[in-house]
Symmetry: C2
Amino acid sequence: MIPFNKPYLTGKELVYIENAVKKGKISGNGYYTKLCQDFFEKKYGFFKCLLTTSCTDALEMAAILINIQEGDEVIMPSYTFVSTANAFVLRGAKIVFADSRKDHPSIDEDAIEALITPKTKAIVPVHYAGVASDMDKIMDLALKYNLFVVEDAAQAIDSFYTGKDGVQRPLGSIGHLAAFSFHETKNIISGEGGMLVINDAQFAERAEIIWEKGTNRSAFFRGEVDKYGWVDVGSSFLPSDIIAAFLWAQLENIDDIQRVRKSHWEHYNTKLQTWAVENEIQLPVIPSYSTNNGHMFYLVCKNLEQRTTIIEKLKSKNILSVFHYISLHSSPFYNQIHNEKPLPQSDRYSDCLLRLPMYYELDVMNVINNLRNED
Amino acid sequence: MIPFNKPYLTGKELVYIENAVKKGKISGNGYYTKLCQDFFEKKYGFFKCLLTTSCTDALEMAAILINIQEGDEVIMPSYTFVSTANAFVLRGAKIVFADSRKDHPSIDEDAIEALITPKTKAIVPVHYAGVASDMDKIMDLALKYNLFVVEDAAQAIDSFYTGKDGVQRPLGSIGHLAAFSFHETKNIISGEGGMLVINDAQFAERAEIIWEKGTNRSAFFRGEVDKYGWVDVGSSFLPSDIIAAFLWAQLENIDDIQRVRKSHWEHYNTKLQTWAVENEIQLPVIPSYSTNNGHMFYLVCKNLEQRTTIIEKLKSKNILSVFHYISLHSSPFYNQIHNEKPLPQSDRYSDCLLRLPMYYELDVMNVINNLRNED
């Protein structure tokens, strides 16, 4: 059986969890939480990092930080996970969905400007499959219309964007805020887990307060105030240090994990070229300004029928491949409140995109051979 | 050194975490999550249980479920944790704070009715120290004024209330909804963690949807719908199965943990009686309708000076004792929006309540002897 995903243990996860317990602190903001946050700040130059219980929660923190109010509009792709939208809906936002690019499931950067109104407050690009949106275009729009940019970098760890200035920057370091996921299906995992990245320093102090349930507890422990109390809204966004201990074992091995995943990805990409052309299947496109982080290898089939056939064929060989999002603009929830506008590319990826198995211990040639022999 | 709290490992936590990883599913709603939820439903007769990343998150789910809207009023004690309030503030509620009882830090049940207005939507009693609020009084008010009751049972695991009908019911099973905490300072822990209890069946289906990020994924996996999608607001309220695996090891030992904690509590209560009278210190009062769950042993000092003196004396013996909440109605955040009304009992507990060390491996006689010898 080849599953679609298999969580990978690097070997030290349980040791570090045991250490965390022995330190007597397994609630949030403990020893391993700080190690992980420091790691990200140093390795990727993020201004400030806060671990969260999920990427969803990091997006919710972002929505609170940019002060989303009833009726504010937020532009994002329709082809994304529900949390990208719900995080802002929970604060009263109206979601304005943009179509995907023809060559890639991420937001069509050239479709954004027409959607901007005086009520628009933020743009939320989603770096699908860890491939960068064209951030120069998006940041230019943000500057022109005074908008915030929240990068949904759920899948985008250790991936990079090279802007027109020629500088290569990590995804998650470009928008005012960014959200990462460590869900078990991601490259680096902690079961459930996420992280908010604060790149705009104006948000740093308040982010810490919102993270700590709306209290100035962090400032108190730094000795900046003599008692702490309720100073803002907030929630319990901190993961247990058990989760951070698990994550730390992963981060220590991030280079190895990335090397192996990218190798799988390259195998898929190289060995499936001919087969893909023969079957009118589109393989992933990596724009020249983006790196590939080996998060996901997907096929864009020519139609729904072809996708169903491939899923069934692989299933008969005990290989699990899965489709992904259903366009959010066509969901029951969104249709209750808004008129559906056609977003043909988003719908095409909903119908035709198929994700092949991808995990550290994957026997990638097995999947490739089964795909090629069968078609 | 005797800390205030020390997380207790029952012995199987790491084994079960390893099992969870080997099962290939460490995201939410996995094997151990189901075990824990079933355990609570069976042991305490809760209608439906959903593990959450924190008690805060369980309260936020409750606020969404009872459909809190801008301007709705929610009555709760001022002497409570910020999350009791923030969970409802995040949905737009106005918090109306009630005073504490003279004999106990929990809400003064007889002060509630005067606070009810046509805008009141819910009452949130907090079972402080695991000691029951008088739920008959509260449920009668809810019935009379058509209000929801959300029990903040953060500290109240394995504690019981005997109503005027003579039936003993578990705390958390009486209100329409209830929230528990498994934070490392609680009797049963998972570092960070919580649980929503749904007692009113009308909320069961929607709770599952909100829990699963606003999707009908749970119904999909039960075969009730043929695809799942975005149907409601929601968040990622599910903890990793790593957290649930840890929790399961604790639950298997709940009876032992409770026995030991209650024994510590009884030692404190018995051996400090004379000392307390001599020093005009009030020991915890357990009303006849409530059990004690050994969550917390606290002193109510005669004034702030006495409390400070005791804290310092214990500290000089390397024993850590800690005060608790600062009245929320007097917080900087609440004062920005509302006028402060005097709540003298709440302020008295803010100034005078002192929590003594309480954990499984505690040398309770050491603390008692140091308290008695020094005063």
